[in-house]
């Protein structure tokens, strides 16, 4: 792949750093059962609101659950949501973008609808949809994908338009290749870079927005651990249990920061001219 060909470990320290952090975070969440003796959802209410100690590295919450454990599992939730949203966004965005870019007849209508959808800030679409479908992991993934895909569709559409009239695509068409074959063989292959950059930023954004929705109570259904919902609980007990607030926030920042760093690095690496056309 293009990405690996250009990547040199020592010249691109951003990418190296961010990938190392991400690997650490992913393994923390994958190996959570080995790293802690506690269960993330089991209560022990007689032991509620304990400050950090040897038994509970980061203290306990209002149900007596171990906060360290919940952070590891909460991170797992964030990563699951992030990856699923990225995949769905690429699929939805890909379909809509390719159709719009490839068939100018319906391009105008699709673009107006996408414009209208982009006029809602993502978080507002997600809040409304989460309120309709109810809280829950699957519904959050759908809501966020729905909110993010218009931008992805536009990126893919412009990639398609810029590629489809190039000579080698024309000659492939003249040689009798059908639309589907052209789309997959030439267009998708050549628009991979902007898609990958945007997908990385979407991953970061999905983690942030999942946390925000769970914070508002329309995200992950309790008692499943979510970093955002942990901040909500911390807010209620901020005065008597301030230790509850720091750790989940730090975990969100660390994962979002490393993803953004990776996105920046990849953008510089793959296409220096993309810098001004892509906004996060």
């Amino acid at each position: 792949m293009l990405f690996l060909k250009k990547y040199k470990k020592y010249e691109h320290s951003y990418i190296t750093t961010s990938i190392i952090i991400l690997i650490i975070l992913i393994s923390l969440s994958l190996f959570a059962p080995l790293l802690t003796d506690y269960n993330p959802v089991r209560n022990n209410a007689r032991n509620r609101l304990q400050p950090p100690s040897k038994e509970h590295l980061l203290g306990t919450d209002q149900y007596g659950r171990d906060i360290f454990t919940r952070i590891l599992y909460g991170l797992r939730t964030s990563i699951e949501v992030g990856i699923s949203v990225v995949i769905l966004t690429v699929i939805f965005g890909g379909i809509v973008g390719i159709v719009a870019g490839y068939y100018p007849q319906i391009d105008k209508i699709i673009m107006r609808v996408l414009d209208a959808m982009m006029a809602f800030p993502g978080i507002i679409i997600a809040i409304s949809l989460a309120a309709i479908w109810g809280a829950g992991k699957l519904n959050i993934i759908l809501a966020l994908s729905f909110a993010y895909f218009p931008k992805m569709a536009r990126i893919i559409r412009s990639a398609v338009i810029s590629i489809k009239d190039l000579d080698y695509v024309d000659s492939a068409r003249a040689a009798g290749a059908n639309d589907l074959r052209i789309i997959f063989k030439y267009i998708l292959k050549n628009s991979a870079s902007p898609i990958m950059v945007q997908a990385t930023f979407n991953f970061a954004l999905a983690i942030l927005d999942e946390a925000a929705l769970s914070f508002l109570g329309v995200g992950i259904m309790p008692p499943a651990p979510s970093l955002g919902a942990m901040v909500t609980d911390a807010r209620t007990y901020m005065v008597v249990a301030p230790w509850m607030i720091l750790a989940p926030g730090m975990m969100i920042i660390l994962s979002v920061l490393s993803l953004n760093l990776l996105g920046d690095g990849m953008r510089d690496l793959l296409d220096p001219h993309l810098k001004n056309t892509l906004k996060k």
Partner: protein, 314 residues
Amino acid sequence: MRNYIIKRILLLIPILFIVALIAFFITNLMPGDPVRVILGNMATEAEIVRVKASLGLDQPLIVRFFRWLVNIVRGNFGDSLYLNAPVSQVLAERIRPTFLIAVFAEVFGITAGLLLGILAAVKHRKFLDQFSITISLFGISIPSFWLALILMYIFSVRLGWFPVSGYEPFAEAGLGTFKYIVLPAFTLAFMQAGLIARMTRSAMLDTLKHDYIRTAKSKGLSTYSIVFKHALKNSMLPIITVIGHNFAVLLGGTWIVETIFVIPGTGFMAINAIMRRDIPVIQASIIFVALIYVVLNLLVDLSYAFLNPKIRYQ
């Protein structure tokens, strides 16, 4: 130019129609019946039917949609189910605190963002550049609801410099209003500063590469005048774009920040309305945010067209 403006404004009509369509059906498909909330915990079915009819909520959905559409074109968003007043009037009242916060956040954000971005570009690959990159990365990576709570804990709960939350309007508290505004505005400004700094840095770096800057340098102009008179001026377009596009994100951010700091603005109103299904208010809030977004985008595009005549004739 005039034709271009008219064309662009006409294009807003289908967009806003689709926005209205989505807003109407999203709000009416939400589960949860406002009448049951009005009547309280122990209400009987007979009471529910009686109040529903008195609010006109027993009509078919499609009839209500067209009635509603005709009304909003006239600027009438209906009456709030809870606030005992027309939605447009409520919106007009609630817009003030939101506007104050947004403007302050934008002013903080632009000042800090430009400063960081310029420093980074001028000191490219030096310590200040790294510093600025780090700060702006944090700006776009910190969840605003968490930052708000940390600021609240440090500056209100611990130090007592600001009220924990709440709001007093300017008319009653005078300058005292600002002590309620500082923390929410700063929370939102942090993200804006990050976004603007990143864009400023890359735009400035691009500009500084151009020949005319080199010419200016060789002519012996001071760094100050090169940066501010030439480079910044020529980097303004992408910076304005990012500001324009992100103002709607900022407004979305006020939904969460106003809820945390309990500020009776449009965002707090919208979240409240969602939580108790005050349908006319939810609809108006969505349309309000969308309208601001499309109008700002229009202004950004028009300023492009104004500065770069080629676009007009495309």
